[in-house]
């Protein structure tokens, strides 16, 4: 970062370096335009709507100030959903996030049939999500499910899975443990392969064993991608909807209802778009705060 560079930042208009000055603008412009049009404009719209008792027939309806916000913030159902959302977050973090990292690190050590294994890792990723979950639902079935059948050989179960209020959340996360995340693995793997061999050779000469090299050389070198993946993971998990919807539709007894599900139901089942928008805003702020926090922490580590 620190090298003195004649190239100016965008905020300083330099006449001498014309070609450089316009470049960032030119390169950024298309993206900025798309983001404004397809994200920020609809987002502003959503925020705007969140201040109304929205009427779909005569938009926008009655202006209600912050009452949509106070309404859901004072609702126990909402806080239940928030707590479910964070329990899911913890479960996904503890059970799934690190798995592709370990898989990629170990895979990088494999010489034989490496491409084959990498391909195999992608398989669950390309199964259409709905079909994959349907199969898992069959596996959980208490009458004819594969999982109970197998577990009974090792003396476990039978479990009721989706019929047991203490297990439903786990049952939703479990497929992600085994089906993994092929794309993340691919990213980690290609990052590992980009680590210059000289560094590894040097470590070897210094006497670092293969396990230590993974820990002290490879892992720090792919940290940038872990950070990126974590950001994506965070919003992905906190906004998860499809997999939960297909598996349990938020039930039983609301045990898997997450905030994004409330957002959808409030909007499309109850037609209360204002509250739905307000809830979206809440999630947006929460995730933004977490991201900033996460950024701070990883910046401190640098």
């Amino acid at each position: 970062m620190g090298d003195p560079d004649p190239i100016a930042g965008v905020e300083i208009i330099s006449i001498r370096k014309l070609n450089i000055r316009w470049m960032p603008v030119l390169f950024l412009f298309p993206s900025v335009l798309c983001y404004v049009l397809f994200k920020y404009y609809p987002l502003l719209n959503m925020i705007y709507v969140s201040f109304f008792r929205y009427s779909i027939v005569n938009p926008p309806g009655v202006f209600v100030g912050f009452s949509n916000y106070t309404e859901f913030l004072s609702s126990a159902t909402f806080w239940q959903a928030v707590s479910n959302t964070f329990v899911f977050f913890a479960l996904y973090l503890g059970l799934t996030f690190w798995i592709p990292i370990v898989q990629a690190l170990l895979l990088s050590d494999i010489r034989r049939a490496n491409a084959f294994f990498r391909f195999m890792y992608q398989l669950p990723t390309i199964v259409p999500a709905v079909a994959g979950i349907l199969v898992w639902k069959w596996m959980y079935n208490p009458d004819f499910g594969l999982l109970n059948y197998w577990l009974h050989f090792v003396g476990l179960g039978p479990y009721l899975w989706l019929n047991d209020l203490n297990m439903t959340k786990l049952a939703i996360v479990l497929p992600a443990v085994f089906a993994g995340n092929g794309i993340s693995l691919l990213l980690y793997y290609s990052a590992i392969k980009s680590v210059p061999t000289e560094i590894l050779e040097a470590a070897k000469v210094d006497g670092a064993g293969p396990w230590r090299r993974i820990w002290t050389m490879l892992l720090p070198n792919i940290r940038f991608i872990i950070v990126i993946q974590f950001v994506a993971f965070m919003s992905g998990v906190l906004l998860a909807y499809d997999n939960i919807y297909v598996m349990t539709q938020g039930g039983p007894a609301g045990s898997t209802t997450v905030v994004s599900m409330l957002v959808v139901n409030t909007a499309f089942q109850q037609s209360r778009f204002g509250i739905s928008g307000a809830m979206s805003m809440f999630m947006f702020i929460i995730i933004a705060l977490l991201t900033v926090l996460q950024n701070k922490i990883s910046a401190e580590k640098d």
Binding site: D5, I7, V10, E11, N19, I20, M23, P24, F27, L28, P30, S31, C34, Y35, F38, K39, Y40, Y41, P42, L43, M46, Q103, L106, L107, D109, I110, F119, M120, Y121, L123, P124, T125, I126, P128, A129, V135, W136, W138, F178, A179, G180, K193, G209, W211, I214, F224, I225, I228, V231, A232, S235, L239, Y241, A267, S276, S280, M283, F284, I287, A288
Partner: protein, 437 residues
């Protein structure tokens, strides 16, 4: 020496762990996929069986001989109707049995006058139209034969007087299905000829009929272009998105990484892009739709493509990768007088093949599988994507569980190919980055 020994040991335990973990996870990943493929070949009964069955049972072919000797000769339509009654009615009565095909042979005076064959794929496609219930009557087939003929559900071959001599009639075989068919013919008077033999045989070739059914349904739904239309739509949408992501995201990521030097501005722009991934997509459904309406893009492929130009994570990913490229290298190029665009296309891109490949894959899968947005922004089937069409198919009344699994497997194949293809490029990219090192 000692040091070398220790290293060797560590290497071995690492290798063992690596293989063990990798094999475990790939196997665990494989099981649902295998279960899906195996289920695509099973009957509903097999799918719900306990203990679970991995191998589908073999469909049975029911072969019925009907003798018309001693009856007034009639035209071939009369016989065709009779054959269709003998096929579709008892089959409907035994809907849940694993019947692969029904073959009816009509004989008269010792020679074969016709043969009619119906496969299970045709039966399951046609069933809701031809035999929506087991309430049969004598005039029903007059209405249904045109449907059967138009949709080519049953094959009917008329031999008339030129048929070869019929073989021995074996009588009604001692098997479950034959007995059920026999009971139907015995207890009703819909079939005009005399049933002289019913034989049951294994029909291996009919194991894959769920796939054939799917294909037939798709042709019905999409017209002569068949599924190809949807496939084309999906491909246009997905490839445009991938291309857009790579160009826009690549440029923006590079700018953030190497062209903007002010830390504050860098942070601002990163947040500008990144913040968008924190918006619940579903809550933008309505505003986005209204926007598309204002842009007059509802019912167009563009409406499905454009919103995908703004994925925060892609820019972030590009930036993260470009950060790894040494600034000295780029500086050297600039000093050599290369323009910024040339630096980007000739130095940065070749170094970054893996990230482009990864972004392609990362974009391809969700866009290919996207469902709600294409559904909402379109109401004309001609703009449907593969996913929407597939979903529509899965909701049809004649679709069975094995067809849903078959359709899932079919929709996997394009992605399968993409993966095989992109992997090669990622490897190539990796070797490039080795050169850079």
């Amino acid at each position: 020496m000692a040091r070398k020994g220790v290293k060797e040991k560590g290497q071995r335990s690492l290798s063992i762990t690596a293989y063990a973990v990798t094999v475990f996870f790939t196997l665990a990943a494989l099981i649902p996929v295998l279960w899906m493929i195996s289920s695509s070949l099973k009957t509903d009964k097999d799918i719900d069986a306990y203990p679970p069955k991995w191998l589908p049972s073999i469909p049975q072919s029911v072969r019925v001989t009907i003798d018309y000797t001693g009856q007034e000769p009639q035209d071939n339509v009369y016989y065709e109707k009779d054959a269709m009654r003998a096929t579709w009615y008892p089959w409907m009565k035994n809907l849940r049995e694993n019947i692969g095909e029904v073959e009816i042979t009509g004989i008269r005076g010792g020679t074969m006058i016709y043969r009619a064959i119906t496969s299970s794929s045709s039966f399951h496609v046609g069933q809701p139209m031809v035999v929506p219930s087991a309430m049969f009557n004598d005039t029903l087939m007059n209405l249904k034969l045109p449907i059967i003929k138009e949709q080519k559900l049953s094959k009917f071959k008329w031999y008339g007087d030129n048929g070869k001599a019929a073989g021995d009639t074996a009588g009604i075989a001692d098997s479950a299905l034959a007995a059920k068919f026999g009971e139907f013919y015995g207890s009703t008077a819909f079939v005009k000829g005399k049933v002289t033999s019913i034989v049951e045989k294994s029909a291996w070739s009919r194991l894959f009929d769920s796939y054939l059914s799917l294909n037939k349904l798709a042709k019905d739904a999409a017209g002569p272009m068949g599924f190809f239309q949807y496939f084309l739509n999906s491909s246009i949408v997905t490839l445009s998105c991938v291309f857009m992501q790579m160009v826009l995201g690549g440029l923006a990521g590079y700018t953030l990484s190497h062209l903007i030097r002010s830390k504050r501005w860098q942070f601002f722009w990163i947040m500008f892009f990144l913040a968008t991934i924190m918006i619940p997509d579903i809550s933008l459904l309505l505003p986005l739709y209204l926007l598309m309406k204002d842009l007059h893009l509802v019912n167009s492929l563009l409406a499905m493509i454009l919103p995908h130009s703004a994925w925060g994570i892609i820019i972030f990913l590009f930036k993260g990768f470009f950060d790894q490229i040494s600034k000295e290298l780029l500086q050297a190029a600039r000093v050599d007088g290369a323009s910024e665009i040339r630096t980007f296309t000739q130095i940065v891109i070749p170094l970054s093949i893996p990230i482009f490949a990864s972004v392609a894959v990362l974009t391809f899968i969700p866009v290919w599988n996207e469902f709600v947005w294409p559904l909402v922004v379109n109401n004309l089937p001609k703009y449907w994507t593969f996913t929407v069409a597939l979903n529509d198919l899965q909701n049809q009344s004649n679709v069975q569980q094995n067809m849903i699994m078959a359709s899932s497997f079919v929709s996997m194949t394009p992605l399968l190919i993409i993966f095989l293809f992109s992997q090669k490029y990622i490897e190539k990219g990796v070797s490039f980055s080795g050169v850079k090192g």
